[in-house]
């Protein structure tokens, strides 16, 4: 609120009221209120100086407000006005100056001014402390000031008595602590406030929601309505709905939807976007679509939220359709769709869409690159992964943050470049347990058990607590190198020292570890003694080991269990067939093949891919069992070229089976 001359004047000077009338009606002041350029302001300032009006606080405060808050700001001129104000700046002027510093992204200067206010006992009001808290938060974020700046402002507000008198200051303090994720302090501040308003409650709900404490956010929201007797506003509802989405409780979501529909007369786009997002997170795309379709105005975030809802439910087709018809896309929209493809086992489409995005001139963000790198890892596409690294990360277009570093390690490892993965791991300034897990797993996949174990010991030395994935990598590395004793030790350490209950994957590693070295009975004992149901991976590892060691008896028993789990898995029949064949039991082999045929089980053909000049080329195993197979293939080749000369290649291409991958026509011809 702008202070009136009467408020600014000293009550003991009744004569000032006469000046008030003169000042208010002066044409220069009227012009000042409509001033729109700094040049014009300077002219008015000159005129005000000549007429003596500039010496009065009201005109000076208006001049100051213009200089501090205009775009672009003229802070030096504002500071000069503040300094020359006679008899001195008032609270409004000081607060306005602080606000100007904040808008110009100079939080430290705002804090310095606040310190001067306190030190020199200059006039202050509630807004002074509010802006000071904002400055403290901004300075803390930019690392230009002490993190305890806010605490100092808190202390000053207590001493000055403003904390108890103004709800604005209390709200600002709750917001300050909540933003710092110091929710305990925020709650303490909230509880101590003698008076609270809807902003107070909303700030706390939002703080909990942003901190991922959805349950607490919901609890505070309920207390606000029931115990606090407050009606939530739009901002409160956004925070509460967001919390419901995090909890994934559809029933609560429906209740909120009904409440919003009944109570909220005019719904903002932000609230409706949050509703769409909430329903998506609750797994109810139908309700999300209902809200989405009912929106009179949709922005890019509306579309993106709806796409994300479909993606989270695995409905790629609907997500694609919506993405195609989006009127306008931003980087978040593209990233969301790319992430959906990457996470839903469509890495080829993720890569394709990334290229589309680049062609559209949209620059990716770090989240985009994380998804693209994940797709590259799935595909084994090293060329593109390197391209992403060189063009965006090495060139510092996008900083190497923790998530990107982890994604790069995983990509390089899964694309076969373990050396580069290791180098990147060494260069990362910040690492978390995911980083260590990625590197340990990388070494495990590449059979470097010593390196994996060494990393694990390093992880412990830097006081990072391993999780189940860490031990999965360790056990996998032991399994790949036949380190039985070490594997047993880590399995025990996982349970006893770190209190991590083994998952079925851990048991599968142990079974594989025992089985591959020939301890089939021990492996069988582990498989039959698991606390959870033994899955295909466990039995499959054991069956593979039976094939390695030619154990028919245990193999048959294991194969029966696998068939019970998944009768259509061709691998079971193939492995068992191999076991029989190794013992020259050809009759049994034939019976198995007959069984496969009767059950409609088809063997997965061997398929190998190689990347050459950025292109992937797939090869299927070629049947050359016939004595004249070379002649047959030569004849096929001749037929192919003759047909090609006749111009029916397009027909052949149309007949090519579509399996999501582009195969060479020649390859299809030879392998069909």
């Amino acid at each position: 609120m702008r202070p009136t001359p009467a408020t600014a004047a000293t009550p003991t000077r009744p004569a000032w009221n006469t000046n008030q009338n003169l000042v208010v009606t002066h044409p220069l002041l009227s012009l000042l209120e409509s001033c729109a350029s700094f040049r014009r302001l300077l002219q008015l300032h000159a005129l005000l100086t000549i007429t003596g009006l500039a010496a009065h606080r009201f005109p000076a405060s208006r001049l100051l407000a213009f200089c501090a808050l205009s775009t672009p700001p003229h802070l030096d001129h504002a500071a000069a006005i503040l300094t020359r104000a006679a008899p001195g700046p008032n609270a409004y002027m000081l607060a306005t100056m602080m606000r100007g510093f904040l808008r110009a992204r100079f939080p430290c200067r705002a804090l310095n001014l606040f310190r001067r206010v306190i030190r020199d006992h200059l006039p202050a009001d509630a807004r002074t402390f509010v802006f000071a808290l904002k400055a403290a938060a901004a300075a803390s974020v930019s690392k230009h000031g002490s993190a305890s700046g806010g605490e100092a402002v808190h202390c000053a507000s207590l001493k000055s008595g403003f904390l108890g008198e103004s709800v604005l200051v209390g709200n600002a303090l709750v917001h300050f602590y909540a933003n710092r994720k110091s929710l305990v302090e925020a709650v303490k501040m909230f509880v101590e406030m003698p008076e609270r308003d809807v902003v107070s409650w909303t700030t706390l709900v939002d703080g909990y929601a942003r901190a991922g404490l959805a349950d607490e956010a919901w609890r505070v929201f309920c207390r606000m309505v029931v115990a606090g007797g407050m009606w939530p506003n739009e901002v409160t509802l956004v925070a509460a709905v967001s919390a419901v989405g995090q909890m994934g409780l559809l029933a609560l979501g429906m209740m909120m939807h009904r409440y919003v529909a009944e109570v909220v007369v005019v719904r903002t786009v932000s609230l409706e976007n949050t509703m769409v997002d909430m329903f998506g997170k609750c797994g109810c795309t139908r309700s999300a679509k209902e809200v989405f379709d009912g929106m009179a105005v949709k922005d890019v975030y509306s579309w993106t939220s709806m796409i994300n809802s479909y993606a989270k439910c695995g409905d790629l087709e609907s997500a694609e359709q919506l993405f195609e018809v989006m009127p306008m896309r931003n980087v978040v929209s593209w990233s969301c769709m790319i992430s959906a493809y990457s996470q839903l086992n469509q890495p080829e489409k993720a890569v394709w869409l990334f290229r589309e995005m680049i062609a559209e001139g949209v620059d990716p963000i770090d989240a985009t690159l994380v998804s693209v790198l994940s797709a590259c890892a799935q595909l084994g596409c090293l060329d593109l992964g390197r391209w992403v690294y060189v063009n965006y990360i090495a060139s510092n277009k996008i900083g190497l943050n923790l998530n990107l570093g982890n994604a790069l390690i995983d990509m390089y490892a899964k694309c076969g470049d373990i050396a580069q993965a290791s180098r990147l791991f060494g260069e990362m300034a910040e690492r978390n347990v995911v980083s260590w897990n990625s590197m340990i797993m990388a070494h495990a996949m590449h059979g470097q058990s010593e390196e994996a174990i060494h990393l694990f010991e390093q992880l412990k030395r830097v006081n990072i607590v391993p999780d189940e994935i860490t031990f999965l990598g360790l056990l996998s590395s032991c399994s790949h190198n036949g380190l039985v004793s070490e594997g047993q030790r880590y399995f025990k350490e996982m349970k006893v020292v770190y209190r991590i209950e083994p998952t079925v994957e851990h048991y599968a590693c142990m079974i594989d570890l025992f089985a591959k070295v020939g301890l089939l009975e021990e492996a069988f004992r582990v498989a039959t003694g698991m606390p959870m149901k033994t899955d295909e991976a466990c039995w499959g590892a054991l069956l593979n080991a039976c094939r390695m060691h030619g154990n028919v008896e245990i193999g048959e028993c294991v194969a029966e269990k696998l068939v019970e789990l998944d009768p259509s898995d061709s691998g079971i029949y193939v492995l068992m067939s191999q076991i029989y064949a190794s013992k020259h039991k050809w009759d049994q082999v034939k019976k198995l093949r007959t069984t496969m045929r009767d059950r409609g089980v088809r063997k997965n053909p061997g398929c190998s891919s190689i990347e050459v000049k950025g292109e992937f080329h797939d090869f299927l195993v070629a049947d050359v069992s016939h004595v004249r197979s070379e002649d047959i293939y030569e004849a096929l080749k001749n037929i192919y070229f003759h047909l090609k000369q006749e111009g029916i290649s397009s027909l052949i291409k149309r007949l090519c089976p579509s399996n999501g991958e582009q195969h060479s026509v020649m390859q299809w011809w030879v392998h069909s």
Partner: protein, 294 residues
Amino acid sequence: MLISPKLAAPPACHRSAAGPRCPGFFLPAAAMVTRRPRRRCRLLRRYSAPLMIVAVMGAVRTQNAEGCFDREELRMLCQESNPEAAINLLDEMLQRSGAGALVDLRSEEQVAVLQACGEARSLASLRRAHRLLSRSLPVIPTAILLRIASLYYKLGARSDAHRALEGASRPPGKNGQEDFDAKRLQAYEKVRELHEEICVAGYVPDTRYVFHDIDEDAKVRALMYHSERLAIAFGLVSTPPGMPLRVIKNLRICGDCHNAVKLIAKVTGREIIVRDNKRFHHFKDGDCSCGDYW
């Protein structure tokens, strides 16, 4: 009658006089003709060799100098954002030295030309550069194609951008596809060559991994054409010597292929990295990182 005998005598006397002159006339002429060519030949022999040597050396020097100057000039033209001149120079290089001139061009130089088109905001130049690269390079690298597509979009040619993207996301074109098809056929030949080479190096097919009840020869042939070997053969005929090969297989690599690939890595001097459905195998100098335990 007496007069007649006197008149008959002059014709006979003329012929006799002409006879000895004719041989005498031709002889000097022939001799001169013969001598002159010889002298000329000698002169040529004396001076042609040094001239030819000088000419050859000069040509070599000129060619080397032109190559260096061309690249330097190209760099300067790109820095000056003069894409038309740069593309003209590329075209000239193509005409003079063939496609090899651009194949030798480094990626940074290609990017510099494209960037010059962008900075000059010349869509025509960009299109021309794209055509030039498409015509001269066997395959435009994906990174370059993406750069081209991005520049097309920035210059407002959305359809061109998408066409460039199509080139990046699928086989680059008819010629490229035919080349790849040819390489595929070569891969089958290469597999047989590799089989012979590794047999010389001590490879013995382990037919235990063929679980069909067929004769030994058929088993050997069946092993020879496993998918990973085909992929490796394709990589060998499609990549320059020394480049590591990375193969991804959907199933577990069989024991015989594992042994074979170790020897293939040895006889070809290539590092071969195979990712099967369980782990990675790094084949180098006849050994594998798994230590034959997988």
